[in-house]
C-alpha cells in the first residue's frame, strides 16, 4: 500500500495526494519495469519466445500495479472502498471480454479455415 506521509488535515472525503517519496518510488519502479522489457526485446530476446513474451507481460502487469498504487493512489479505504471495488469489477469484465474474444475468434478461424490454423501459434 502507498505510504502516505501527508500531514495536512484531510477529513475523510479528501483525496490522498501522495508524497514526494511515494511518487519517486513509483517513478523508479516504473522506469525499471519499462527498461527491462525494452532492453530484452531490443537485444533480440531470449532463445525461447514464450519466455520473452512471459517476461514482457509480467513486467507490464507489475508496472500497472505500480501505477495504480503510487500514481493513482488506490487503496482499500479511498471513497469507502468504492474505487477499489469498481476497479476490481472493471478488471474482471476486461479479462472476461479480452480472453473470451481471443478464445472465440481463434477457434472460429480454426473451424472456418483449416489451412490457416498456424494462427494458433501466433496467438500471444
Amino acid at each position: 500500500m502507498a505510504h502516505s506521509h501527508n500531514h495536512h488535515d484531510d477529513h475523510g472525503a479528501h483525496h490522498d495526494h501522495g508524497s514526494f517519496k511515494s511518487y519517486m518510488t513509483g517513478f523508479v519502479l516504473a522506469v525499471i519495469l519499462t527498461v527491462i522489457p525494452f532492453g530484452v526485446v531490443m537485444g533480440g530476446g531470449f532463445d525461447s519466445r514464450v519466455m520473452t513474451v512471459g517476461l514482457v507481460v509480467l513486467c507490464a502487469v507489475a508496472q500497472v500495479l505500480v501505477h495504480m498504487i503510487y500514481f493513482l493512489h488506490m487503496n482499500s479505504s479511498a471513497e469507502e472502498g468504492w474505487t477499489l471495488l469498481s476497479a476490481i469489477f472493471t478488471i474482471v469484465i476486461v479479462v472476461i471480454m479480452i480472453a473470451g474474444s481471443l478464445w472465440v475468434m481463434f477457434h472460429l478461424n480454426t473451424n472456418m479455415m483449416p489451412q490457416m490454423n498456424h494462427e494458433l501459434q501466433v496467438m500471444p
Partner: protein, 206 residues
C-alpha cells in the same frame, strides 16, 4: 409501521432532512467511474487488435513497421509527464500556485512531445503505404493507438484550460478538484500506454 411511530418520540433516530453533501464531494468517485468505463472502451479496442493482429492481407507486419527506439522515447515522454504532474499535485497540496503552474507547464511539454512523436510515426507509416486502409491489422493498430493519442490530445487541451483557470482564479477549491480529476485522467492514460507498448509494439516485434 407501529414500531416506527413508537420510535418517533422526543429524540429523532433518523435525519428528517436530506443528508447535506459538500459541493463536489462525489466528483472523485464519479470521475473514477468514468475512467473505468473508458477502460472498458480501451479493452474492446485491445480485444479487436488481439483478434486482427495477424490479418496482414499480405501487407507489412509489425516487424517491418515498428521502430522500438521511437516507442521507447515516447514511453519515456509519457512517464516523465506522469511524474511531473505528480509534482504539480504536491505543489498544489502546499498551496504553491507558481510551483503548480511550473510543473503543469513541464507536464504539457512532455505531453506535446509524446503527441508530436506519435504523429511523426503515423505520418511515416502512412507515407510508406501502411495506412489504416492497408490491412485489418493496420486498421486495428491505428484505431487503438489513435484513440489513446486522441485522449492525450484532449488531456492536453484540458491541461491548458486548467492552467488558465489557475492563473486567473488561483488554487480555489473548485480548481483543486479539477486538477485532481485531470491527475487521475493523466495517470490513467499512462497506464493504458503500458498495455499499448507491451501488446502492440513489444509483442509485435518478438
Amino acid at each position: 409501521m407501529s414500531t416506527i411511530t413508537e420510535l418517533k418520540g422526543p429524540a429523532a433516530y433518523w435525519e428528517t432532512e436530506p443528508h447535506h453533501h459538500p459541493e463536489g464531494a462525489s466528483t472523485n468517485i464519479g470521475f473514477w467511474v468514468y475512467l473505468m468505463s473508458d477502460c472498458l472502451m480501451f479493452a474492446v479496442l485491445f480485444a479487436t487488435y488481439g483478434v486482427l493482429h495477424g490479418n496482414l492481407a499480405a501487407g507489412p507486419g509489425p516487424k517491418d513497421l515498428f521502430d522500438l527506439e521511437l516507442v521507447a522515447i515516447n514511453t519515456a515522454m509519457l512517464l516523465f509527464s506522469s511524474i511531473t504532474y505528480g509534482f504539480a499535485m504536491l505543489r498544489m497540496a502546499k498551496g504553491d500556485k507558481a510551483g503548480t503552474l511550473k510543473w503543469l507547464l513541464i507536464t504539457l511539454f512532455f505531453g506535446l512531445c509524446f503527441l508530436a512523436i506519435e504523429l511523426y510515426e503515423f505520418a511515416h507509416l502512412i507515407h510508406e503505404g501502411a495506412g489504416p486502409q492497408r490491412s485489418a491489422f493496420l486498421s486495428a493498430f491505428f484505431t487503438l493507438v489513435g484513440t489513446h493519442g486522441l485522449h492525450v490530445t484532449f488531456g492536453s487541451i484540458w491541461l491548458i484550460t486548467l492552467m488558465v483557470q489557475v492563473m486567473k482564479f488561483g488554487l480555489t477549491a473548485a480548481n483543486q478538484r479539477r486538477l485532481m480529476c485531470l491527475s487521475l485522467f493523466w495517470h490513467f492514460l499512462d497506464l493504458i500506454w503500458i498495455g499499448v507498448f507491451t501488446v502492440v509494439y513489444l509483442m509485435g516485434v518478438i
